[in-house]
């Protein structure tokens, strides 16, 4: 069944969109990530204009994060105070991101920015996660090897403006969480992602937060950052396609719940290594697009209306 998307002005098969939403939702439920980093490239691939894919992707992440955070709230695994600090940084980062996105769209370099960010961040996170889980699996097979401590004292603990985060059991400066929040907010705006895949490692290794509150807190603040990003894109560029969003969300929320049920049956290290391979595959595909000579060197963009 073909459906005409009013803002994107393209006609796409509705079941294809439901399928993409469902598949990405399943993976996001399985691995506990927002899934934005998959949905935006997939939308590019089926011919949705980049600006609309990014803005609508952010809207879709709101839905999957709400779905995810409710389960975490039940387990009291959300640090609201830390979430608020991250969010404050996130709103600043997102505002800058939307502004940069609009400027680069005008200069014709937005695709490059989005692609480079994907290769850089997905590549880095994928490799780190792969190495980490490979080590964990090796360690599990070889008992007696030294275990690395997650919570160590480093330069982060010497910064001023300290604050107590009771739910996380931390007494640290607000500067690192603000910076992490801003970086993730910036990425959310230019990549159409929630940024959970950067937020989660940063919370564990940089801020030293206990693992049990990490996913809940990250989802909590991602809801607000991506909601803000969606609004900014809608107001500054009219690029949110509600019809597209509804179809992706419908597929996505159902897929996410199924993924979560399925994920509970797999071991954590196996999940992480699978996720890292998926992340690396996406990064590799986009890197190839940049490196290989494209079939069509020219591209057509609508200019400014008189």
């Amino acid at each position: 069944m073909q459906i005409f998307l009013p803002i994107a002005e393209v006609s796409v098969n509705a079941f294809l969109l439901l399928g993409i939403g469902g598949l990405v939702g399943f993976l996001s439920g399985l691995f506990g990530v927002g899934g934005g980093f998959l949905i935006t490239p997939l939308l590019f691939f089926i011919g949705i204009p980049p600006a609309i894919a990014v803005a609508t992707g952010a809207n879709q992440v709101v839905a999957s994060s709400v779905s995810g955070v409710l389960a975490q709230l039940k387990r009291k695994a959300v640090d609201f105070r830390m979430g608020a600090v991250l969010l404050a940084g996130g709103l600043v980062g997102s505002t800058i991101g939307v502004f940069v996105f609009a400027r680069l769209t005008a200069a014709g370099q937005v695709d490059l920015l989005v692609q480079l960010s994907y290769v850089l961040f997905l590549g880095f996170i994928g490799l780190t996660m792969f190495a980490e889980s490979a080590r964990a699996i090796l360690r599990a097979n070889k008992p007696g090897a030294p275990v690395r401590r997650a919570h160590t004292h480093n330069w982060v603990h010497g910064l001023p403006f300290k604050m107590k985060f009771r739910a996380s059991g931390l007494y640290i400066s607000v500067l690192p969480p603000l910076a992490v929040g801003a970086l993730v907010g910036f990425l959310a705006a230019i990549m159409g992602v929630g940024g959970g895949f950067i937020m989660v490692p940063a919370m564990i290794y940089l801020l030293g937060m206990p693992t049990k509150v990490v996913i809940g807190t990250s989802l909590f603040q991602i809801i607000f950052v991506t909601a803000f990003t969606t609004l900014m894109h809608a107001v500054t560029a009219n690029t949110v396609d509600m019809m597209l969003a509804v179809l992706l969300i419908l597929g996505g929320v159902v897929g996410a719940q199924l993924g979560a049920i399925f994920g509970a049956k797999l071991r954590a290290e196996q999940l992480r290594i699978l996720l890292s391979l998926l992340v690396l595959a996406v990064a590799g595909k986009i890197a190839l697009d940049l490196l290989l000579r494209p079939e069509e060197l020219y591209s057509v963009m609508p200019g400014v209306l008189p």
């Binding site: 009013p6 803002i7 809207n59 370099q109 809608a234 509600m242 057509v300 209306l305």
Partner: protein
């Protein structure tokens, strides 16, 4: 005196006969509604040649039909390899290019339309693109325009269909033009030309209004006129769907 009149009449008659060939035409529809399930549309353009005198012999009559969507300015960019990766470098601004342009004819355009007439009426696809300042922006500006034609032809936005207009007895004609699913809103201009020996004998113009309707219309208007409300509505749907799915599955699992 009578002889002189007869000579004058003989001289005038062929010219008068040509001038008296005119087009009578109609469209199967003069509005196209883009609704949520819009999947392209077929327009039937039909008509006849009206004559006050018998058709003059000699060169046959030909019909050219063009359908043109709303024009917009465009930017064409070219990728170049820099620092090992392919990035957009040079660009050329096009003043106006139609979002859709289809040409259907009864014969090969080279044979039935002279270059001067094409220049005057802007009939062929390259003539529909206006890029006056393009040459100043890049040394190889024509390549950019060629690329625009190539890309839009591949997208099925520009289409040249020679010898697809049915023309019966040099009098009745019909052309079917398929409008693709990816249609831009606005007035579409339909032009019909009658040519003989490369010269345009008569031409007429009709209009088709392409408009989003229903939900499509409502969403587009809301997103442009009330973007903040539109944004909040999108968020509301997202939050409601996320919450709904998680509570529905909790019920199922119990």
């Amino acid at each position: 005196m009578i002889r002189l009149a007869a000579v004058l009449l003989a001289l005038l008659l062929p010219a008068a006969a040509i001038a008296q060939e005119s087009i009578v035409a109609g469209l199967s529809q003069n509005r196209v509604s883009i609704t949520a399930d819009f999947d392209g549309s077929e327009i039937l353009i039909y008509g006849a040649v009206k004559r006050d005198a018998p058709a003059p012999g000699g060169a046959p009559l030909h019909v050219i039909v063009t359908v043109e969507g709303p024009s917009t300015p465009l930017i064409v960019r070219r990728k170049e390899r820099q620092f090992g990766i392919w990035i957009n470098r040079d660009s050329v601004e096009i003043d106006r290019a139609p979002s859709f342009y289809a040409v259907a004819t009864t014969g090969f355009l080279n044979d039935i339309l002279s270059e001067t007439e094409n220049l005057r009426h802007q009939i062929t696809i390259p003539r529909a693109i206006r890029a006056v300042g393009a040459v100043d922006q890049a040394a190889d500006a024509p390549e950019f325009i060629e690329a625009l034609l190539r890309i839009r032809t591949e997208e099925d936005r520009y289409r040249l269909a020679e010898r697809t207009v049915h023309f019966t007895e040099s009098t009745l004609f019909r052309a079917d033009v398929i409008l693709p699913a990816n249609l831009t809103e606005g007035p579409y201009r339909v032009r019909i030309f009658l040519t003989r020996e490369g010269k345009v004998v008569d031409h007429i113009e009709r209009r088709i209004n392409v408009r989003k309707e229903g939900l499509e219309r409502w969403l587009t208007t809301l997103s442009r006129e009330q973007p903040l409300i539109y944004g909040f509505l999108s968020l509301f749907i997202a939050v409601a769907a996320g919450w709904g799915a998680s509570s529905a599955f909790r019920l199922i699992r119990r």
